[in-house]
Symmetry: C2
Subunit: 205 residues, 2 copies
């Protein structure tokens, strides 16, 4: 199911770029290394982008999905980390390679625009005063990014922990668990047996 | 001075794009209209990007500087506003025009990467617990975006109000005024006669 729904947004990368040196696969939970002057283009899977705080907390700042890119040239954050949330296929490019290929450049424009929309969406969320409002907006933003059709509504293709959801909106894991319980009681969301969130067709979604 | 320092990052747009229909100038304080499917490319000046909250508050989510772009196709926010912070020259493009010109596409990749770095920087800032830490990081981020050399340190090319700085880091105007007073007393920053902030060469900058 995940493969079918992501295939449509896989970047149209020429066969000549698909050498084994350039294509790397990661399993769920793997950390993804990053190099100066190089960017990763996601062709399959979902990558969680974290900022590691001096106090040791990992703060979620984004998700990279198929067609989008991430890497040190695309961030201003010093302690930047990337982790695969599912089986992931990535391609490594230098900036010079990207800029010398009209095909790659066009893919990158669309992918960067999408990540910028996501980042602005997250910035908009943190401006809400009430944590519950933030959470509802975060869940709807994630629906666009990692949602796939499900008989009960929209299912997230990957599993996010309560801790990860909490740092994305600046709250604690305990509060997140309580709020998700509340939304579940309201039947705004439910879980499948793999603990992936399903947003239901409840009013307001 | 501002013109000299911004000239280097003006996008290399062909002369043929510079028709009078496409190029628009705005004065400081002007609101900039936006159209679906069209993006603005900044060739001169600084544009403040705001999210208008239901409670009427304008929350700063970004600054568009020369070489960068903004517009409805590049945001996920519903109540998005743009305002010129200085004399500004902008060029209006459709997405199809941008994608059909390798020259424009390359400019846009660099401009989008820069805006993404800025947005992630802002996301990183809101994750700091202490408001004073947030403010110092915001001022350093703005130094990169709108700073120009000054005998005392780095001067912001445009003036930002205490209210604007406050919403960018999720605090009140009153707190912002108090914290800026504290940083001024520490000689971390000062103002010129136009009330533009100057970050001094104090330790830690």
């Amino acid at each position: 199911m995940a493969n079918v729904s992501t295939a449509a947004v896989t970047p149209p990368v020429d066969g000549r770029w698909r050498s084994s040196l350039r294509v790397h696969t990661f399993s769920s939970g793997d950390s993804i290394w990053m190099e100066p002057e190089r960017i990763w283009l996601v062709s399959r899977g979902v990558v969680l982008l974290n900022l590691l705080h001096p106090d040791g907390e990992e703060v979620v700042v984004g998700l990279a999905t198929p067609g989008t890119a991430f890497g040190l040239p695309l961030t201003s954050l010093m302690a930047y980390q990337a982790k695969a949330l599912s089986k992931t296929e990535l391609m490594l490019f230098t900036l010079v390679e990207v800029e010398s290929s009209p095909n790659l450049t066009q893919s990158l424009v669309r992918g960067l625009a999408r990540r910028l929309r996501q980042a602005e969406g997250l910035l908009g969320i943190t401006s809400h005063r009430r944590i519950e409002e933030r959470l509802r907006h975060l869940l709807l933003l994630l629906k666009q990014e990692i949602g796939e059709p499900h008989p009960l509504g929209t299912r997230y293709r990957v599993r996010l922990t309560h801790q990860q959801l909490a740092t994305a909106i600046g709250t604690s894991r305990v509060t997140m668990t309580r709020l998700l319980g509340k939304l579940r009681q309201e039947r705004w969301l439910t879980y499948d047996r793999d603990r992936h969130i399903i947003l239901t067709h409840a009013p307001g979604i």
